[in-house]
């Protein structure tokens, strides 16, 4: 299994560099083994250099930069081992408009092999979808009901039903 781990890590390292570049339009994302001599125990470090900036520790990243970097790691895992179904709950909340678009572009690349179920309040993400499910409490009685979503009205407003 050491060989399998090494082979998977190598593919993940390349996938992460690629997804990072796409999401940040620049900079560099690297994965490093903390103990390369001991494949059974080693951990994995994430080191990033953001476009225009110097290499920094992860703690200094902003809220949006952290979310985008974590998304790059998740999408890299999905490239190495695709999952038929992925569920993401408001992963786009900290992102600004430009970064949401980059995130959507990356989703579209994986859309042929993966079904994405996204919970979101962000109307850029909502408008990018091909099916919409409205969840509300019509009777104001603490019980969830499923309602159709009027996407045309959403295009004007910025929030859901």
């Amino acid at each position: 299994t050491q060989d399998r781990f090494a082979a998977t890590f190598e593919r993940l390292e390349a996938a992460f560099a690629e997804t990072f570049l796409k999401l940040f339009s620049g900079g560099e994302g690297c994965l490093r083994l903390t103990a390369p001599g001991n494949l059974l125990e080693t951990g994995v470090d994430i080191e990033v250099t953001l476009p225009g900036k110097k290499r920094q520790r992860l703690e200094l990243l902003s809220g949006g930069e952290r979310a985008l970097c974590a998304a790059a790691f998740l999408f890299a895992l999905l490239k190495v081992k695709p999952s038929p179904i992925v569920v993401l709950d408001e992963i786009d909340a900290p992102l600004d408009g430009r970064n949401v678009e980059r995130f959507i572009d990356l989703l579209r690349e994986l859309q042929d092999s993966t079904q994405f179920i996204l919970i979101t309040h962000n109307h850029v993400t909502i408008l990018a979808a091909d099916n919409w499910i409205g969840v509300t409490m019509q009777g104001h009685d603490g019980v969830s009901t499923i309602v159709p979503v009027n996407v045309a009205a959403l295009a004007e407003a910025s929030d859901a039903p």
Binding site: F5, G43, L61, Q115, M137, V143, L154, P161
Partner: protein, 165 residues
Amino acid sequence: MRLKRVRIFGFKTFADRTDIDLSGNLIAIVGPNGSGKSNLVDAILWCLGEANARQLRAQTSQDVIFSGSSKRRPVGFCEVTLLFDNEDGALPVATPEVAVTRRLDRAGQSEYLINRRPCRLKDLLDLFADSGLGRAGYAIVGQKEIDQALAASPEERRAWIDEAA
């Protein structure tokens, strides 16, 4: 393989029989705060065998059963069914559709079913072992969890790589 439908009864805020059609490859779930969107994610996780109540924002396993509201009485049990399209045979079951069901009542009686036939939790976990939807799966990311990949220790991150190996 893809998830075609989710059928819920009595799970958290889904007190009524609810049938959700999940056609399409980029599905947006929208709605006001507190309306039940994350509860739907919890329903999927629970049906796939999630055993840790904290992962479901609950303290006891029965906390997932609808506990009543200002106008509605509590219900006695909850049930979630996930209907998968298995045309491509990705799931090791010989039918073009696979229905996975989990049921729980207030007495703590829990039951798993594959295509309406009772099975053990282990059979259900084996069914999804190779699909990325497994227990340590990176494929379901809950609200505010995205930060964890970065906040995790190097050793914890390694576990995801083992899962993908």
